[in-house]
Subunit: 339 residues, 4 copies
């Protein structure tokens, strides 16, 4: 029998932490030993996440570096950007493995980070060398990493279908339009008039047009797969549903490339991947809801290639990807806790 990995979750009051805990409770090789929050009152886990009533008997503690590493082998860090990088270094120094949900280690360079996030990076030295946590694309690097940058939800939905096509020179890097639609859980678990039920129910709107921070992340990762620079025009939309991202991507095939070659390429690339399903049907977010799957199809309209991808922003777009990275980092079967 495998010894269990002791897992700590830093910043465990949000939705991604909730989903993470649900997945880890099903994982045969995991024991959750510590959860943290800045809440002074040290509530019980189930006081905050009522759906976890009677599932896990833990109280929130403050993150205190001299005590936290005790009884912890691996940390899922769910803090906001900048707050995360302020502690990740210490966690690594304490010889813990870390999967970081924030954007702090996703970008290639400090300048980009500071431009887009508007704060100084607290751990600039590590930037650029951290594995980007899409195992389907960066598995070998993740395997040997102590720190993995868990990818953004929107970028995952764009990068998974596009990377193989760029890598194989089938599509042009520009123009590239990514029109994404997300459920409201993506906004996090914090009261805000924008996400007040009567404000966003029965409504769809665009937001962050031209300014969303996932834009440089999409660019930088895709640029590793295409010869030239991509500049994705990315527009997210808020959809009245709990979870799910559907991305509709518009781009052009390279000269001489036939329509069928795109699906063939994706089918071939993801043939042995357990969590990417290339399908001839148009995906819906319901098909992937509550799962770690990303469903992808390719269509054509008047010469333009249209790719539709669907994933659950909370699972393949966040906590499921994190568990998948955890499995890769620990040499476990990649699907543990995820099917």
């Amino acid at each position: 029998m495998t010894d269990k990995i002791n897992v700590g979750i830093v910043g465990a009051t949000g939705y991604t932490a909730l989903e993470l805990i649900k997945l880890l409770l099903r994982h045969p090789n995991v024991q959750i030993t510590r959860i943290t929050s800045r809440d002074e009152s040290h509530p019980h886990l189930s006081d905050v996440h009522t759906s976890l009533r009677d599932r896990l008997d833990l109280r929130f503690e403050h993150l205190e570096m001299d005590r936290f590493p005790e009884g912890v082998d691996c940390v899922f860090c769910c803090l906001p950007h900048a707050a995360s990088a302020a502690v990740v270094g210490q966690l690594l120094d304490a010889n813990l493995k870390v999967i970081d949900f924030s954007a702090d280690y996703r970008l290639n360079d400090v300048a980009s980070f500071e431009t887009w996030y508007g704060v100084e990076h607290p751990d600039a030295a590590r930037i650029g060398s951290v594995a980007y946590g899409i195992p389907e694309l960066f598995r070998e690097q993740i395997k040997t990493s102590k720190l993995v940058a868990n990818p953004g939800c929107f970028p995952s939905s764009a990068i998974l279908p596009l990377a193989p096509l760029f890598k194989n020179g089938l599509v042009q890097s520009s123009p590239l339009i990514v029109d994404s639609k997300t459920g409201v859980s993506g906004a996090g678990r914090k009261a805000n008039l924008k996400f007040h039920f009567p404000e966003c129910n029965e409504s769809i709107t665009a937001y962050g047009v031209g300014t969303h921070r996932h834009m440089p992340e999409i660019d930088q990762i895709l640029n590793r797969f295409c010869g030239s620079e991509t500049e994705a025009v990315f527009t997210p939309h808020l959809v009245p549903m709990d979870r799910g991202i559907l991305s509709t991507i518009y781009l052009q095939r390279c000269d001489g490339i036939e329509e069928d070659q795109l699906m063939d390429c994706l089918n071939e690339y993801y043939r042995h991947e357990p969590f990417v399903r290339v399908t001839s049907q148009i995906p819906s977010t319901k098909d992937v809801s509550g799962t770690n799957f990303c469903d992808i199809t390719v269509r054509s309209c008047r010469g333009t290639t249209i790719i539709v991808s669907a994933l659950d922003n909370m699972i393949k777009g966040a906590s499921g990807a994190a568990v998948q990275n955890f499995n890769v980092m620990h040499g476990f079967e990649e699907t543990l806790g995820l099917l």
Copy 2:
């Protein structure tokens, strides 16, 4: 041509004010002249209520008693309880008519108010003599009133079907169970984790069980129609939809009363009322959504009488009732602005 009534709205940033403005913009005899809010920045109406873009060119002002009455004939007061009664007296003194949306003047006695609302009443002298704004039941008093207490949304859904049955001695006053289901707009326009989209979407729950402040209001108004004291057991539930209240009411017929007599009584009572529809079908909130109607039916199960009523909590449960009261107070046709 009728001169228009100049209307001021005090506390106009909430959902009831938004609905009220939409109704009043359709009212041929109304001109909205002033809107107030405590917001220091005096935003334009359409900055707060974006759906009113280009509809009404007004800015929010602070309520200042020396200036506000100028250019105002009638006030819709949408302040919270206690805050409302703190200004209503001054508005009346300035010779304005007032329709008050708060609970401040709905109850019969100061003691009840202070018990249930936990604050001292700022205008205790008026309590007990103010018209309760259900025109179908109290039209004569409303006609001659300078101040009308606009009724609570849940009480309206219970009182409209029950009052005629009690008045005619057809049903017993106890036991009386009112199981109500409401859309989330009833919670108001204020960010709160409970009403954060991902918290209440795809979920139904009960709240305020045994403690909701609409309970004494239901009792006191119903008691005017039945010989004995009612003590409604009232349980509200939060439903993932914007608007609408469905109340399912369980009670017993009086001895010797046949099932058909209840529908006959309601049909007769509401025969000439434009906004109460007694129907043999089971009502749904969708049937009344966006309207000032209250739909009612009566069924029987194993000897127990089951009444189902539906209304739009924002219209017949709030702003529509207010406009109806406004029409009655000014001698206008009662349906103006409401059909």
Copy 3:
């Protein structure tokens, strides 16, 4: 006092007819006199549309050409494509005015119609000369028309923002991507597993990718405003909400055109239009829900122009536009029944 126009509605069991009736009941110059359906049982209007309970005392009748025109001045024809053109000619011959909701008279030529709709056109002679019912663009022709082709919901959301920009030579006709998101009422009032609540709730998906019939309609109308041929790449998506269309449109400015010129152009073009609101905020479908407004904004991202438009598919995208056309055809104030 104006004599009322007697209105008949052909094919009145669907959602567009329901919305139409609600609007017409508020119209001071309209009396609805006849409604038709193929239902053999001649149900009462309120048996089919329960929300219209007690609003209008009419029964459905079969459309019989020898009797129908009696007591009717103007017809709103809500039949499916091809079925509509099979009767419109006779209605015109009987000297009635007709506003046709189907696609039968929207396209310029019979060949297009027969290619995209897959049926022979029953009234081919009229094709190409019928007014397209967007008054903001074709008011003069509508004024003198006996027959108006009410526009498609998606085309309206694309054409309203684009026509002035094309007309003024500010944007390039290609590439043109229209990514639209619609509520489920657009699918009509007919049970279908695709629109079964548990299938489409909490899900978003694309459909009709590359094959939707609104694509040639968008092209043909836009082509009247731009020098060259447009070929819109149009992708509709199904959103879990009742109503509303949000279109996100991606295109390129012409050389030398500054970003601000686009908003300036739209502001100028629609300055005096009561139902188009050009706004600096990003529109949401909730802002226009239940109204005849179309809200439009323009943004820019990395050189690409992004236009976001929002309208209510049932109102400005169908029945509201129809009433607006009705008003123009009869010389009434254009906002009657619509504010």
Copy 4:
């Protein structure tokens, strides 16, 4: 290592079968070997349930009794009432264990069945001796059963909280009001105008008032626990959400019983049960969504006891209960596949 149980699913095109398959795919001791449907075209599982894409490579076959039992040890029968009992006998004769989702074996007597379901019972001899599949109440009988009647979703939500209270003589059997609210998946996977998205979205209504077939089921099971006959007044409501049942139950304590005794009794009764959570908070359906939990609390209002219970109609109300029964019948740990 345990040999896997070969499982067949009869009538596998519906939502309960879909949920069942999802649960069984996680069950370590189960292999799904056969699925049936009346569809002549023998589609692949994933053609019908697109969310199961790449999960299980099976095609639907017709149920043919001479071939079906081959390679099957245990059957989950998801046929409609009467259709189920027409085949269950043959499945048992072929030495298969059966968990039946229909109502065919839930009631005590043939007369009740035929009265409420309006058809002759095809297997009347077995009625009255079949284990009712709530393991928390009837575990010992289920353990030794070859056939288990999987309980109704509404009855489960009422019986779980009430049985211990009745058994311990704490509450009166009459009056008993069960006001239940359910998501739309309870209506099954069949297009029907009532459950068309735009009909039931943004609406709540009651249905089957006084006539729902779960009423005798609630009565008969509860009568085993209370001395006298119960006659539950049961009213279901349709809520615009996918899944979940919340039941609000109104009844009276027996003389001399204190409020606290009810929670104490439930806490004690369910102390060691993995799937019933007695809680001081008011449950919501979201807390149990996607799980096999039933959450229960007890409150009091003006002397009336109010019980609120929540479960997922698809899991604890159907497929989760079935897997739990399966585990009990096979001597497996009861939580396998369910946590």
